[in-house]
Symmetry: C5
Subunit: 100 residues, 5 copies
């Protein structure tokens, strides 16, 4: 999975019928030092992530494992809102203290 | 999923029989600031996207989830025509106003 | 899918038994301006593509959708020989006129 | 598969219900000379890997092959703790001697 | 598929039970001119490839198509030992003559 920051939303009315009701988040990838990377992903969201939150994205067929996403033509899904990221036993990120 | 701009079409008569009737779009990827990237994708289209429109592309087995695409040897599909893209609460793109 | 040019062949006698009879093509990827990229792919061929022809490659599980390729350990397949590529309403490539 | 070094952990309480009980490791990829690459992966762990250990990561649907991971929306899994890596008949890494 | 050269082995005793008996090869990718690329892959081997041999690697779910690999959490498999690679009708590599 990849760590990303919620940066915005993508809205579409003309889409595959199975995507009705899907919310698409614009996510910018984060490197292992907590810096924003110049890469983004658009993913469906099944955990209710908010703007600026750090999340975990699963890509490929993993995105369709939850029953709510089965048979939907999606290849990326937000599967978790991150509480903490620890590197070499020191705290890189903590949702509560928002070190970053 | 990835955001891309419809730039053209790819036509082929000699192809896997299951691809008869498929329309292939040439799509150029767009970065999170709305700029064209030097990367493209060729995708089947199931939403009727037009030239210069911004779309969402799903890749991998996601492309074969709609019943119309099952068992077709495709690995990319246009799944939505984008109305708006919002980043940090400000409008990056709007199909109606075509900021870009 | 990706656009590529047939550059050659890869021959192997010692291979997974299910690959007996498979022809492998060496394909160089092409960018959206029609230039060769420094990236290649080896793909099985089910449309009879010839040297220097432009083709469409499908990758991942898409390569095993045609019944002839089921259960074969391949991750790339030539699925179409390209007749024309049009970008912004102007012809980038035409098999007959071989602009490139 | 890819070789990586365990660098830390990612903790999340708000996640897809099927991920309850999953431990996520932050892994930094390693190149063929044993140097850390500027790329990381977050993976579920089913072999109990510890900090600084070299491991093998499988990505994509491979991550959901063990019965313990079926139907979980994960796209990366630690599948082995590496004992040794040998290149051109000479030892690049050995868990016991920790050449690196 | 990708062309690679066998450079070494990766040994692990602590691994997913289904991987018992699997041999992992360290493979360095080769470009279309026959030069080693700074990218490697670790793959299971089902054709008995030896050090310095050129091989074809399949990645993703393709790696689990042979019955011997079903349900194993692997995402890369050596599927063929290469005899010859021909580019623009001239021989780039021949196992017997080992041009490279």
């Amino acid at each position: 999975m990849l760590i990303a920051k919620v940066r915005g939303t993508v809205v579409s009315t003309q889409k595959d019928p199975s995507l009705q009701g899907s919310k698409f988040l614009l996510l910018q990838l984060i490197d292992e030092n907590g810096n924003l990377l110049p890469e983004y992903e658009v993913a469906a969201d099944c955990v209710g992530a908010g703007l600026d939150e750090w999340v975990l994205i699963s890509r490929g067929s993993a995105a369709r494992q939850p029953s709510s996403q089965e048979k939907r033509p999606i290849d990326a899904l937000v599967v978790a809102i991150i509480d903490t990221v620890t590197v070499d036993n020191s705290r890189l990120y903590s949702k509560n203290e928002v070190y970053r």
